[in-house]
């Protein structure tokens, strides 16, 4: 699997100095994504999802310290020079952020931004770049695309802006798209449309994708593999069907249980997870989830569980007392 991987993240560790002390945002993460595959990364806010994606893109804050390797398409991005990285990021490695304004320039029209990207990376002439831009905007579901070219980002709704950001990200036919909570800021109806759009383009282009979200519901029907993160670490990793059929890590189970279900009767008490995630500047000696875990025993408080293989090598979990019973999947 590893030799055919398009992306392989190896022992990646991100440390951030803060006034409260060192903050380990990403703690020895290993991941692989094959060509054309979709990996879902799930976890609550602050668990390190964005820092992990920035570590892959080599877009970490200046003060951050990165260890480990990020092998992409045969080269280690960590040791690549800035110019090569810049070329790569516009071309074969693209990103869509939660807030589309992060990737859009507020003072340039949509057209200028698309056309410039296409001209720079694909060396198209103006007329060809313009034609491609219109096609791309149409492909991401923007009505009257030729008229939109002259509009500025602030003249569009949040959903439209995210579509434009996706059009720009897709413009150079990347091999890997990292989508960091691309729909968290949007309404459910728009969210469904954007996720469909990403899935369709991903299939059509045979592009690999990392879909980052805090919602297990979002990854369920849309990814091949899922990695669940907690306190900077991957705590469970499995092919999506296997994960939902038989989750082994108590945190994954608790996260799924805490989501209100449409088929539950009103006023049903929700199985909430007590407490909150640990302060990342105050690392916990044992399992990071132990203060909140209902299965925790003495060993969990003193020792950190490593990622271990379940029945299949593809399913891994970090827990001393994995859940044995198959979890009933709610409809």
């Amino acid at each position: 699997m590893t030799d055919r991987a398009l992306l392989s993240v190896e022992e990646v560790l991100v440390d951030l100095p803060t006034p409260r002390g060192n903050l380990r945002a990403v703690d020895r993460v290993n991941l692989t994504v094959g060509a054309g595959q979709t990996l879902g990364v799930v976890g609550e806010s602050g668990c390190g999802k964005t820092m992990l994606s920035r570590a892959i893109l080599q877009l970490l804050p200046k003060k951050a310290k990165l260890q480990g390797r990020v092998m992409f398409d045969g080269q280690d991005l960590v040791s690549l020079d800035r110019e090569s990285l810049r070329k790569l990021r516009g071309r074969s490695l693209a990103v869509v952020f939660q807030d589309p304004m992060t990737s859009l320039n507020p003072v340039l029209t949509i057209g200028t931004q698309l056309i410039e990207t296409l001209q720079e990376h694909l060396e198209l002439d103006l007329a060809a770049a313009r034609k491609r831009s219109v096609e791309l905007l149409a492909a991401v579901g923007i009505p009257a695309p030729d008229q939109r070219l002259t509009q500025y980002p602030h003249q569009l709704s949040g959903g439209m802006r995210q579509r434009v950001a996706i059009a720009i990200a897709l413009s150079c036919e990347p091999k890997l798209l990292i989508a960091d909570e691309p729909t968290t800021a949007l309404d459910v109806t728009i969210q469904a449309q954007i996720l469909d759009l990403l899935a369709r383009e991903q299939r059509r282009r045979h592009m690999a994708m990392i879909l980052i979200t805090h919602d297990l519901g979002v990854v369920a029907g849309r990814t091949d593999e899922v990695a669940v993160m907690y306190a900077g670490r991957v705590v469970e990793r499995a092919p999506t069907p296997a994960l939902f059929k038989k989750m082994r890590m108590p945190y994954t189970e608790a996260l799924l249980a805490a989501i209100p279900k449409l088929d539950a009767a009103p006023h049903t008490v929700l199985p909430a997870i007590s407490g909150r995630p640990p302060d990342p500047t105050r690392p916990i000696k044992g399992c990071s989830f132990s203060p909140r875990c209902r299965y925790a025993v003495a060993r969990c408080h003193g020792e950190k569980p490593e990622l271990t293989e379940a029945e299949t090598p593809a399913h891994q979990y970090a827990c001393f007392h994995p859940i044995e019973m198959p979890v009933a999947v709610p409809a």
């Binding site: 609550e44 929700l270 909150r276």
Partner: protein, 323 residues
């Protein structure tokens, strides 16, 4: 128009409420002739996409927004006609909880003072009594009064700040609370804690709730009835279970379809929604949903659909309802 769904003993009755904003000489039709009732002890959920007028409706009920026309009857009194002291007294019985818990707390004041503020405003003069009341309500929402009273908001997480906001809303022992997206900014694990807390507090303090959200599963978890809003108008209202099992309005059906389900066998239906909501500055004629509705026909562009009974207790504003 009177809603036939009127519960026998409504605590809140909103009649033909119209709220408009003026933006650069243009009129934003934020709430257009909305009528609804909430029974004593009931939780009414209010759902709809961003910008459809949910918060505006909530603020107009509280008289924090001036309504162009319509009535807001609270316990039989028309709040829109009340002024000064009388209004202030009545408003003590109605509280509001916001979406962004951290932003709604004054960063420079201590938690004890923040929660005591409604008591000061309402004229509870004895500081010892105030302290006791604050301490009681903080314990009720699951915080240790001794530990939190002296601290500042930035020392707390989003979930804890929402507990503090809930304590502040409860301290005057109100009858009615408008919860405007109280869990939208919170993580999944914390969200469940706060939803459970709201349910507990509702029972303990005998509250009636208007619960605003855009997440249908969240709304269903706490609501007896649900009202669906689209571009300033009410589309459908009915008992929660019934509405989710058999939606009558095409927009309700669309919202339900769009919810991501945590089950990999349920491949999401592709292209559920067609386009985005139009601008509330120039809402479509007739039915406002017609530009996105798969069932729209000529009648939908000329005639405004009125709310009509489609099933016991369930009402939909649609010329061609699904049931």
């Amino acid at each position: 128009m009177m809603l036939q769904s009127s519960p026998a003993d409504p605590l809140l009755k909103v009649e033909n409420l119209v709220v408009e904003y003026n933006v650069g000489g243009k009129t934003v039709h934020a709430v257009s002739s909305v009528s609804l009732d909430i029974a004593r002890g009931e939780t009414l959920g209010l759902v709809g996409e961003s910008g459809c007028g949910k918060s505006t409706l909530g603020r107009a009920v509280l008289q924090l927004r001036h309504a162009q026309s319509g009535k807001v009857l609270f316990d039989g009194n028309d709040l829109t006609a009340m002024r000064g002291d009388a209004l202030r007294k009545m408003r003590q019985r109605v509280q509001l909880i916001f979406q962004d818990p951290i932003a709604s707390l004054n960063p420079r004041r201590r938690i004890g003072d923040i929660v005591a503020e409604p008591l000061v405003i309402s004229g509870v003069k004895d500081p010892e009594k105030r302290k006791q009341m604050v301490s009681d309500v903080l314990s009720a929402v699951g915080l240790d009064p001794g530990l939190v009273m002296g601290r500042l908001p930035h020392e707390f997480s989003g979930g804890q700040c929402q507990r503090i906001c809930i304590a502040r809303a409860l301290v005057l022992n109100p009858d009615f609370i408008i919860c405007d997206e109280p869990v939208s900014a919170l993580d999944v694990s914390i969200r469940a804690q706060i939803l459970n807390l709201l349910e507990e507090m509702k029972a303990r303090y005998g509250l009636t709730l208007l619960f605003i959200a855009h997440d249908l599963a969240v709304v269903k978890a706490v609501s007896d009835r649900v009202a669906v809003m689209y571009l300033g108008r009410l589309c459908e209202v009915g008992p929660s279970e019934q509405l989710f099992a058999r939606p009558a309005h095409p927009y309700t059906a669309l919202l339900i379809e769009a919810i991501p389900v945590p089950d990999p066998d349920m491949r999401p239906a592709e292209a559920v929604a067609v386009g985005e909501p139009p601008s509330p500055i120039a809402p479509p004629s007739g039915c406002r949903f017609r530009t996105r509705c798969p069932r729209a026909d000529a009648k939908c562009s000329t005639e405004v659909p009125e709310l009509r009974a489609v099933a016991p207790g369930q009402y939909a504003a649609c010329h061609h309802p699904l049931i």
